[in-house]
Subunit: 356 residues, 2 copies
């Protein structure tokens, strides 16, 4: 680390000052705390998330920009998963000696891109030393007090839906952690995402990698669902359907049955990285990193849901199963209608190999 | 790590559920985000801070309880340093394999003690793996929108004050990092602080160590100063007067002169750990960890300040210098009135040895 802490903080503050100052920020970066004016009449959502070197990324392939972008997007996703809208972000960095000032600048460039996409701002943070780099982000959001969509409201008989297509991010992660992506391709991904973080790349490999670094945060879908008030529960898919559905079932005190064949998998795979459908389903269920939304609605609201998404030109949604009594547990059915073995969710601490 | 992530989260949630639920918490721990109702008419303070193994503590001597207590107290200190009152806390843990479930429980026990002391609550968090343990905490607070006391308002001629006595925490840290405190003494400190985190131990060594693990957060003093509206700037002393005063001067665009002999040093030292006054002053200026308040007031408000502290039976305060023009820089004067050499502040990244 060639800069002093003070010089590094100055560098970050100059970077943050160039972003559009957020309305309602009374005191921004550089003091003991940031001060913001809450949105009148709204409740406040608070979420925190950490990204750690050699757990969530490797130094070898994560550029500052891509890491900053992905980190803050995935944190912002938690706010949308409650039906709230992001507002102010705090970034706490544990900086390893390998993190150059240029890397830190790029990291904030990526985070500013993520925040800016949703009109959020970075209002403060902290830096300290750490032998492995970590990024801990807190995102605040706002929402009408009665509109929060928790994990706890799913009822027996509700339909289970997911947005978009799953498994792509986990496949990208597999290849990244496996060291099978060269830096030239990553430079293409970065160049593409610096230009437009929300567009779809033409090249299939660039698109697949973009699923990992710039997951398709479902902002409009979240807002529409919150305003319509038809979700009984919602979660963002960070760890794979297996694990995240288990959270919903646990909090709601219910079971679930999932028809595996109905799970919409990401299928625009580049020839060189293609895998079979069964393995892709496995990634959708156990891989994680998709940041699509999983939500439940009453059967009587399914028509309204379909109309809501069609009329507002929102993303594709797919029904993948239904909520059952708690005693029935969580069951994944094969297309012959029999329980499938061998599908599980993500657990940072036990079942997964090092690397995500 | 013998528990799965899910089991560990359950353990933490049970622990948090036993704390008094905070008024205005709409959704607590266990969802994508916590939801709180902002205090009507008040602005929101947001601060984040991290504690990292082998940077801020060593596994050898930091028990879970003491580490949790100290971590959250030092984070809460940032909120008071703005003149705000703490409200909701988020705790993001990077857990090393050595951190047992019992350690994690104790960590939260310490954090609950810290939060509970000020009527704050822990509303959410995150856990992930990390090779070295880290604790990243975000604390939100509230204050009347016009009452924020920043680092940026000091004016030439203002008097510079500090609360309490300085250097004790840094001396304790020196002995802790030097391996010169045995675990039996730490057990006494923990036992004392579990009983009453705000009392003063009778034993001098226990008292000195308590300065490090339970710094005397100046809650009432902060509230009184914010309500009186007489501070032109304020900061909490986390890195030592040298560094923290430099922050105030930098943000305010001013210089300062400090009379070294007027700095109130912590002097109830146990015989076995006693050091001379000059070294104690050095710790007060460059050591950090005191979490006392440093603030500036107009000369014309000094009498009002003295009365405010006397009439409300607040802690001792000491005038240590005055604000000067920017061009004069920051000068430390010896008691012969000549600039003193060799006093500096804390910089995590350059000047300090590993660990402090």
């Amino acid at each position: 680390m060639r800069l002093s802490e003070r010089e590094l903080v100055s560098l970050i503050r100059r970077k943050l000052a160039r972003s559009t100052a957020s309305e309602g920020t009374i005191v921004g970066p550089g003091d003991d705390a940031a001060i913001i004016a809450p949105t009148p009449g709204e409740a406040l959502a608070l979420s925190t998330d950490a990204i750690v070197e050699d757990v969530h990324f490797r130094r070898r392939w994560a550029t500052g920009f891509l890491l900053g972008l992905k980190s803050l997007l995935s944190s912002i996703s938690d706010i949308f998963a409650m039906g709230a809208r992001p507002r102010a972000c705090l970034v706490s960095l544990g900086l390893s000696t390998w993190a150059s000032p240029l890397f830190v600048e790029d990291l904030f460039e990526g985070m500013l891109k993520a925040a800016g996409r949703f009109g959020a701002s970075i209002v403060g943070g902290n830096i300290t030393r750490s032998n492995k780099l970590f990024i801990d982000m807190t995102v605040t959001g706002h929402l009408a007090p009665g509109n929060a969509i928790t994990r706890a409201g799913a009822k027996v008989g509700d339909a289970i839906y997911v947005t978009g297509h799953l498994g792509g991010a986990a496949l990208a992660a597999k290849h990244l952690f496996g060291g099978r992506i060269d830096r030239g391709r990553l430079a293409e991904v970065e160049s593409f995402l610096r230009d437009d973080v929300a567009a779809t790349p033409g090249d299939a490999q660039v698109e697949l990698l973009s699923r990992f670094f710039a997951p398709p945060i479902r902002a409009e879908e979240s807002s529409a669902l919150a305003a319509a008030g038809i979700c009984t529960s919602m979660i963002d898919i960070s760890d794979g359907i297996g694990s995240d559905l288990r959270e919903v079932c646990h909090e709601s005190g219910v079971g679930a049955v999932i028809e595996i064949d109905s799970i919409p998998v990401f299928d625009r795979l580049p020839g060189s990285l293609a895998i079979n459908r069964r393995d892709m389903l496995r990634l959708a269920i156990s891989g994680g990193e998709d940041y699509e939304l999983l939500f439940t609605v009453r059967q009587s609201d399914e028509l309204r849901l379909q109309r809501l998404f069609q009329e507002n030109d929102l993303c594709p949604i797919t029904k993948i199963g239904r909520i059952t009594p708690n005693s029935e547990g969580i069951v994944f059915l094969d297309n012959d209608g029999r329980p499938s073995e061998g599908f599980t969710g993500f657990d940072h601490f036990s079942t997964k190999e090092e690397g995500h």
